[in-house]
């Protein structure tokens, strides 16, 4: 063999494309990711959005101000009430209406109940994504309590349409306080067991710890908000920055954890459920009794200008920009959705990971695709 001219063969494995298609059992909605893979390692992610794009922003330009609220709870349907509250607050800020205290307290309680429901569903689907199929059933069973409470008062289980500019649509059901007071101790007793089911399991810990680490500078640069940013130590809770409704008179902690890996984001959401229970407990006992609707004109026209209202949904920082030119329809409405920026983070975190890790990372990001596609 002629050893002088021996060249080392450059063994390059070929990269191939895999489609994590719009229908897949890790049901986060219709998200299509085009992955470039090298063996089992993901090299590049390109999201292909638009499967549930309903042009809500364009449609808002043709509707009156009282009607655009009904479009917003189809955005992030798991935090439907908080989205409605955002638009109602933006309009009230523009018109400088003072809402009754009862309205503020009701809106906050409903918002926190929605947050708990959203986090429970996230927990169930998270377990299902990594393989523990029983968590799905437990989470939905507890979510049914919240859905029943909501249905008594607002008439709907998912898309509540409850806030209006100036107040809320209906008064609370007569059993509302009693049922919420029964629900809180029940959830407090089962949440530690649920946590133990997953975090007590070494298989789960090995799939979560140290995977998908997001540094704080990256979190700010990519615009991540909500539990994604709080898991990396970035303080980004809108309820503390600009308190709205009745949140300025309750006492709760903002859950901040270091680490930035999957386990930190998981723990942030589990602890947030306890904080929400604390908020509800502080408010449920003395709901003031001064009416449910402030006086507004029948046809609302905002003054010229630009108005921004930020709220904290279960996913992060949701902003409503209303740009008005004095007419009865808004000139431009823009919804700044938290999932859009968190998707940016996924593109970065997913590089050079295994495929199984990508599934686990996207489960902790908690996407709701209608929020991203609008």
């Amino acid at each position: 063999m002629d050893t002088q001219n021996l060249q080392t063969l450059d063994l390059k494995s070929q990269e191939y494309f895999i489609n994590m298609g719009p229908q897949h059992p890790a049901a986060h909605g219709v998200l299509r990711l085009i992955l470039t893979m090298d063996g089992e390692i993901v090299k590049n992610i390109e999201p292909d959005l638009g499967f549930i794009h309903r042009s809500i922003e364009k449609q808002c330009e043709y509707e009156g101000y009282k009607q655009i609220i009904h479009l917003t709870d189809r955005l992030d349907y798991l935090s439907a009430h908080i989205n409605n509250e955002a638009v109602a607050l933006a309009i009230e800020k523009a018109l400088e209406i003072e809402v009754p205290e009862r309205v503020k307290v009701i809106r906050t309680i409903m918002g926190e109940l929605t947050r708990i429901a959203s986090h429970l569903l996230w927990w169930g689907v998270m377990g299902m994504d990594v393989g523990a199929l029983t968590t799905f059933m437990y989470a939905f069973r507890d979510r049914e309590y919240i859905n029943d409470i909501m249905e008594d008062t607002t008439g709907a289980r998912l898309t509540m349409n409850y806030s209006t500019p100036g107040g809320v649509m209906f008064d609370l059901h007569k059993d509302f306080v009693k049922r919420v007071k029964e629900f809180i101790p029940h959830l407090r007793s089962v949440l530690p067991k649920y946590d133990e089911l997953l975090t007590g399991n070494i298989i789960f810990i090995k799939r979560m710890k140290g995977i998908g680490v997001l540094s704080p500078e990256d979190a700010i640069n990519y615009g991540a908000t909500g539990p994604v940013a709080r898991g990396s130590g970035v303080a980004s809770d809108v309820r503390k920055i600009q308190p709205y409704s009745a949140l300025d008179r309750v006492d709760f902690n903002e859950v901040l954890l270091d680490g930035g890996d999957n386990l930190a984001r998981y723990n942030v959401r589990m602890k947030e459920m306890y904080e929400s229970l604390n908020i509800i407990e502080q408010l449920i006992d003395n709901i003031p009794d001064d009416g449910i609707q402030a006086k507004t004109k029948a046809l609302i026209k905002l003054p010229k200008g630009e108005f921004l209202q930020r709220v904290e949904t279960a996913r992060g920082d949701f902003g409503v920009h209303i740009i008005s030119d004095g007419k009865k329809n808004p000139y431009r409405v823009k919804f700044r959705s938290p999932g859009f920026s968190n998707l940016n983070t996924l593109i970065k975190l997913g590089k050079d990971t295994l495929l199984g890790d990508l599934i686990a990372i996207s489960a902790t990001m908690d996407f709701v695709i209608p929020d991203i596609d609008r």
């Binding site: 191939y16 994590m20 377990g127 199929l133 997953l198 298989i203 799939r207 295994l354 495929l355 199984g356």
Partner: protein, 362 residues
């Protein structure tokens, strides 16, 4: 002792059809006897598969605080028959450019592997179709044919995801066969023979799990883990349960093709459970050594055997509905870095225990 004067009922049946005292049909009688026995096993295969699927659905429902199938038939017992009829009526579609030979051979291979392994299992004294002297090793060897079936299915489907799933599954199965085989070897050290009957005979006084105390317990744990991985169940069901793979290597199969894969998975689980029961728990022997005193031997043997097998199957189903699944590299790390060295050391330990006669016998 029971075993020395037990007749093999199948052998008697073959004798009856072909031999001098019975119908005396000669060679044709022998072939007919084989066909009847095979049909019997096929029927058992089908019924056991259906019952295991029903059991899985009910147990899963009870773990998840719901009811499970309870409409079709009394307590929902006929549910799986309804499902099977539905699957039979479906068209076996395939992908456009599939490799026809591999695609259609795949599901036959897994069925063949499962059925042939079933023939060595000893259900009761005298109820064993194939009494070879390499009993348990035969099962381990034949299950490799099943792996071939998976890989054919993945390649022949002409689908990237099926191929990924088949590759992962093949890798997993051949890795864990090593640990399973070594755990089996640990028990063989106590017996000195691979024959299924000898193994059960050696457990007359008390079961191997107690006889071989520490090394046998370790081998039991290793065998359960490796067995769960062999039949592709959670926590090792990465090839078929992963979010992006859909159903892994059998995602392009429908109708009877899918039914075969599905049934074969449950029968594999049954075989692993019967091996566990035979090697560690005493097969069809009654507990506390009262086997001799019971009348109607084969019937009682069957009852004890099925009680033990169903207990192990319940354990495997419990795993499935509680644990998350392991990633592929964690799975392989578990096997090659932890289970395999532990199994090898365990063999040495068991050899020492047997040599110095430290077994617990009473």
């Amino acid at each position: 002792m029971i075993l020395t004067n037990t007749t093999n009922y199948f052998a008697k049946f073959i004798e009856y059809l072909s031999g001098a005292e019975g119908l005396n049909l000669g060679f044709a009688g022998e072939i007919l006897a084989y066909v009847v026995i095979a049909a019997l096993y096929l029927a058992f295969f089908a019924v056991a598969g259906l019952m295991l699927v029903y059991m899985e659905r009910r147990i899963a429902a009870f773990f998840q605080l719901r009811l499970g199938p309870n409409r079709v038939g009394p307590w929902g017992l006929l549910q799986t028959i309804a499902d099977a009829l539905k699957l039979v009526a479906k068209e076996i579609t395939g992908t456009e450019r599939k490799d026809g030979l591999l695609y259609h051979t795949a599901y036959y291979l897994v069925i063949v592997a499962a059925l042939v392994s079933l023939s060595v299992v000893s259900f009761a004294p005298g109820v064993q179709a194939f009494n070879v002297n390499i009993g348990v090793f035969f099962i381990s060897a034949v299950s490799s044919v099943g792996v071939l079936g998976l890989i054919f299915g993945g390649w022949g489907s002409n689908n990237k995801y099926s191929l990924l799933g088949a590759m992962r599954s093949g890798l997993q199965m051949i890795s864990y066969e090593l640990s399973a085989g070594l755990a089996m070897l640990t028990i063989i050290l106590m017996v000195g023979s691979l024959n299924v009957d000898s193994i059960i005979e050696a457990q007359q006084s008390n079961i191997f799990l107690i006889q071989g105390h520490i090394p046998a317990l370790i081998a039991f744990a290793i065998f359960i883990i490796a067995g769960t991985a062999e039949s592709n169940r959670t926590p090792f069901d990465l090839p078929e349960g992963e979010a992006e793979l859909g159903a892994g290597f059998h995602s392009e199969y429908s109708g009877m093709g899918f039914a075969y894969f599905f049934l074969a998975e449950f029968i594999n689980m049954f075989i692993i459970a019967s091996l566990t029961a035979t090697l560690f728990l005493g097969g069809w022997l009654a507990p506390f050594g009262i086997t001799d005193s019971l009348p109607w031997q084969p019937l009682w043997g069957l009852i004890w055997f099925f009680v033990k097998v169903l207990g192990v199957i319940f354990l495997m189903m419990w795993f499935r509905w509680t644990f998350p699944r392991l990633r592929i590299d964690q799975l392989l790390t578990l096997e090659w870095k932890y289970l395999l060295p532990m199994a090898l050391l365990n063999i040495v330990l068991m050899a020492l225990v047997v040599y110095f006669d430290l077994l617990i016998k009473f």
